[in-house]
Subunit: 242 residues, 2 copies
Amino acid sequence: MTHTFQPVKRAPLYMKVYQAIEADILSDRLPEHSALPTEADLSAQLGVTRSSVREGIRLLEQSGLVERGPGKRLIVKRPQTSEVAEAASKGMVRGGVTFREVWQALSAMYPSASALAAEHLSEEAISELDQVVANLKDIPAKEHERVVENAVEFFQMIARGLDNRVLLTMLQSLNILIEASLKQVIENTPKAKKRISVAQRNILGAIKAKDRDLAAEWMSKHINDLKRGYDVAGIDLNQHVI
Amino acid sequence: MTHTFQPVKRAPLYMKVYQAIEADILSDRLPEHSALPTEADLSAQLGVTRSSVREGIRLLEQSGLVERGPGKRLIVKRPQTSEVAEAASKGMVRGGVTFREVWQALSAMYPSASALAAEHLSEEAISELDQVVANLKDIPAKEHERVVENAVEFFQMIARGLDNRVLLTMLQSLNILIEASLKQVIENTPKAKKRISVAQRNILGAIKAKDRDLAAEWMSKHINDLKRGYDVAGIDLNQHVI
DNA sequence: ATTATCCGGTTGTCGGACAATGCTATTATG
DNA sequence: CATAATAGCATTGTCCGACAACCGGATAAT
């Protein structure tokens, strides 16, 4: 019976630098909005060269834990929902997800989100949503980009109104994933604007009436309509998202 | 009325290096599994020093687009769902989300996921799920860690069975977020194991019967039960997740 | 008071050097 | 001949020192 050794853990210095600073940030020894020491100081304190410090800092930077003022010191910050959402959707796109997966996720999540919205949205959030729905009227049906923008903003407003950063993050990544294909769909679907407008008004009405089930149902229809759009536009659902 | 100028866009070289390589990866000019040129070559090709190249590579590395074989060349890869999920949940934790937000997200997403599972899960996935449910029987109620593991694995199996990487990514981040608090809940809830077991069997039954609504309903109950656990365990829902 | 100039601190970039490591081909050994 | 030891070689990781670019603030000039 031979003793088994743990593989000695070896990591490049720049990685250790990253982990050391990250640990101090996560434990609030480096509180939000505080400035990191200068590279030279870090180099001295950690006992490695400035080169290694700099490489470690790049890792920090990419994980969204610090932010550089223009040209200046690094400031500790919390990652914003939008950043996390963007990174996640970027990762998923690169991971090769298909339109079908995105659409399925939409249809699984947004009806529930609408139901939540029906019981949760503040007066203010509702009036903003109202505004978005009203705005669509003034957009000429030919201006596809603006219609897409409006359609996405409608989703966005519902997501934001939930006042829940976890859901917001996830719904935002969906919004990012869907936006690209939405343009194709809307360009190729006759009466797209009209149908979107009807759906929006029905969803909004249900939310105002605080009717969970109705809100979910109309949202569900809205998203199913979208799926039909894929067929009409001739988009293969098994295609990778951009 | 004064004219407003766009700020001149200036980026450090290491950032340009990152963007250049990223662009080549995203466009498949650098296909998956291919090796990046050596740092020296990159330095020559891009016309910057190796130091700058290395800093750019750290950014790439952190975004999960490349992977280092042990000690050696960087290989292009697709980010794994688990990585994206982990990064997202890490970002959300750091963003300061509360237990309430996590729980609300759970209760918004998992019932829909269960409904999908009811119509979607393969025979194989169901039998694996069956196994997980059966395993719980053999775990002594006192071994909280193992009960937690099992509870999370149950969620995990449902998520994986959906065969949808977008949903999988999102549900996985939820699983990571919930796991930590679950232990506290289970430790402080009498008959936790029993209640979990009942819920699992009911959900599984509904999925086997391909009954969407029933699956969603039982999952909803399961998650509500969890929320009661928070109260019993005396966990403040407004607390930040770890 | 506004503009121009200077100055010190910090980041960004460069170039070179060398150690540590892994791979490959060659040589030595049974 | 097959296998093991060895020697090179290529590549990454780390260090060092230098300097340009840039920022903010202080000071001087108009």
